[in-house]
Symmetry: C2
Subunit: 484 residues, 2 copies
């Protein structure tokens, strides 16, 4: 049997989980009460499977550094990491085609791709391993194997897979895929025992899926093939980064693998399984993860409640007082607050959509913004000043830069900084500070082995993020000068 290459696919924005999930910090990065993100849990699940030596991730290039951070924080570095970085989302068919072509070239036509959405939760990892084992057996016979979750209730929010003829390894040929049903149909499915939830996970040999692409979606395959040829590959020590060319990728049809391949192919199988699976599709689903107290409340953070029942309250930084409430979802973040009827959590997407329409920052960004070198958090903005907390990862470096209109005051509160300030270069230790005048080129490097934490106070007439001239940047954010 060929190598097993888990392929984590990071998808949509998770607008129903606003204000925690946002465009620049989508649902895979959402942290559960145990402190781990959905992405980290998916990574652990994938790399813990027997025989896994490399893991492939298909994601947006905007979140590449954040993804790498999340993986590295787990201190599980045995697996080599491949990345296919998309310039924008193009649905699952182009993503899986790219993953299959990449895997076929590097790890052989007989390698097996295990496609895992980055933002689902699986609590029964033993059952997951067993299901993958069964899927690998069928995949080796040339099947495109889906994973069908045995329904626990008459859910109307998922697509279903109908079992057909029994196959080996406890699997079935797929009779058909069916769209999200109405309540009555969902009830019939639940009773009938033939229908399973489509979890969006797949296991297949790369030659098998590529054959199906050739037959059912040759336009996708051709566009992705052309795109891979035009793309830029960087090889690191244990990492491969393939940055997809944005012009070429733009020619790939925006289509799901279900629609392009699975619903058309004759070679699709399903493994029925019970994995403790959730797609964490709404705040109601998040709430279902933790037990309620005697009043039916689930609280993360400090609360004082008077006659409050059946509420989910998540507020890590601020005290919440509640009086006479029932069945609400309350989600507090530094810059935005959500209060929703718990029966209406699907409608949270309308809030996110409206913010997107307005071009509102609270749709796109959190107060903490991820950069290749670490993060910054805007603590306070006022007239003539802005205060940020800046965290620079060990060995990371901000670009050599200059501002025309603002001065910057840097105070190191933890770690050590190497600072370039105009002509001078010097070390700045914990509790020390320096002052960068407008017009002075400067650079900040963390030469140490622990995070550098700094407070930056900007002051001046104009404090927009666009008052920056970058000279050199180790993350490629300065366009190269045209060749002579």
């Amino acid at each position: 049997m060929g190598a097993l290459i888990p392929c984590i696919i990071a998808g949509g924005a998770g607008t129903r989980l606003w204000p925690v999930s946002r465009e620049a910090m989508p649902k895979p990065f959402m942290r559960l009460p145990d402190g781990e993100s959905l992405l980290q849990k998916t990574f652990m699940r994938a790399t813990s499977l027997p025989g896994v030596e490399r893991l492939l991730t298909v994601t947006n290039r905007e979140v590449f550094f954040r993804t790498l951070d999340d993986y590295r924080l787990l201190n599980k570095t045995h697996a080599g990491l491949d990345f296919i970085l998309e310039p924008f989302g193009r649905n699952t068919a182009p993503a899986i085609a790219a993953a299959a072509l990449h895997t076929a070239r590097l790890y052989g036509e007989d390698a097996q791709l295990l496609v895992l959405p980055a933002d689902h939760l699986i609590t029964d990892t033993q059952a997951f391993e067993a299901a993958v084992q069964a899927a690998r057996g069928l995949a080796d016979e040339g099947w495109l194997v889906t994973f069908g979750i045995v329904p626990s209730h008459a859910e109307t929010g998922f697509g279903y897979i109908e079992k057909g003829q029994a196959l080996s390894h406890g699997g079935y040929q797929v009779a058909q895929f069916v769209e999200k049903p109405n309540a009555a149909t969902a009830q019939e499915y639940l009773k009938g025992g033939l229908h399973l939830w489509n979890a969006g996970m797949f296991c297949m040999r790369v030659d098998a899926i590529l054959r199906e692409f050739e037959q059912h979606a040759p336009d996708v395959l051709e566009a992705v093939n052309t795109c891979l040829a035009a793309s830029h590959r960087k090889d690191g020590n244990r990492e491969i980064q393939l940055e997809l060319d944005s012009n070429a990728f733009g020619n790939a049809p925006d289509i799901s693998v279900d629609y392009a391949i699975m619903e058309r192919s004759q070679k699709v199988a399903v493994i029925p399984c019970q994995l403790g699976w959730s797609d964490i599709g709404s705040w109601q689903a998040v709430r279902d993860l933790s037990p309620a107290d005697a009043n039916g409340n689930q609280c993360n953070g400090e609360t004082v409640l008077h006659d409050v029942h059946n509420c989910y309250i998540d507020s890590r930084k601020r005290l919440v007082g509640g009086v006479g409430l029932d069945n609400l979802i309350i989600i507090d973040t530094p810059d935005a607050l959500l209060i929703a009827d718990a029966n209406r959590t699907q409608d949270v997407k309308y809030i996110a959509q409206e913010l997107k329409r307005q071009g509102h920052d609270a749709y796109r960004l959190h107060r903490t913004v991820t950069r290749p070198w670490g993060t910054y958090t805007v603590l306070e903005e006022g007239k003539r000043f802005k205060i940020k907390r800046i965290v620079v990862r060990p060995n990371a470096s901000l670009s050599l830069q200059m501002h025309h209109h603002r001065s910057e005051h840097w105070i190191v509160v933890s770690g050590m900084a190497r600072v370039t300030n105009g002509e001078r270069e010097f070390l700045l230790d914990t509790n020390e500070s320096t002052f960068i005048k407008p017009g002075h080129t400067h650079r900040l490097v963390n030469p140490g082995v622990i995070d550098l934490v700094m407070i930056e106070v900007q002051s001046g007439e104009y404090l927009g993020e666009d008052d920056i001239v970058r000279f050199t940047d180790i993350y490629g954010r300065v366009p190269e000068p045209p060749k002579a």
Copy 2:
């Protein structure tokens, strides 16, 4: 007719208006949507009355500077200001006894005291002036005059005054004071037309009220008299401060003027009036001040609402998203959030009480803390650092001080500072910064005519507010050394 001395009395904590009203920032300082505090509105109302040359304020000494700030911000300096500063609350009878004794001594036995609670709202100032004019007439005849608000609905939350025999000036002798009625009785009162709401305002000659104290509450009068003799008086340019001795004041009975005098005296009159009066007793009352939109919502701050009706949302700094809500009060402050059923706003006091029981900071303090020299706001606290925004009023000065464990970095973002840092004294202009090492004595003065706004970043192992040694302080916060 004697001089009219309005006397603003600042009373309780306003626990039903948590989280805006807190122990260190009680209800009189609460700002309405127009930006003025209830205290400022009361001050304007009092000093705009014809013939008023001095205004007396009885309040807790903890909020003296804040009170002065609020008055000064109005730029109405024509009235002289007298203050009686209580070391702790002792209900209205001792406060009014002290006010009457003070006024009798300084402004004559025939002076008239107009007692005004600091935290009520009156929108019809013309009707107020007319009512005061009528009350002065009756007061001149020796009556203790109350103001009876003509009920607009069958309110069960107020005490009532029953009209008796008609007097001159449109007034009536008071037949009796009655406690908060039940709903049926309140309905009868509304129909009957004999009962008025007790607004807690009074107008009386000081000799008249002192006679009644002698007769009905001689213990209160004696205790307050003794206390005044032991108290410390400071005379400023246009200000008199009388700081009550805390031991002596502790001997005064904790009793209301209604119970001690008004319900017992035969010389109590009432002026019926319609003043657009509200005691702003709950968030529901605050909500009644502003009109609702087509969905019945009232929003201060940024909101995105989907199927939200009849909600009052006050969130100045953060975006609020709402889905499927009805009839909620949502009050957002930097460190605490209240969500309450709008029919249950009286019960908000239980949240405040529970926080008090826990000794929680969110009962006592806001993130912005008032000091004699201005304010500071804790913007962020973390491991090894704390960031404050410090606002120093013109000509104000922080004490000369020293910290053992922390260094302080000061950055001026607006205005000009005069800094003492160890042996050196220098000016620090906008956009400039300085650094105070642990163990260095330092002082900060605003020598200018506009507010000095500064960002202070503290860093070090220990950042508690108790790591401070004060050497000299113009606000008397350094105990004088014992005389040799």
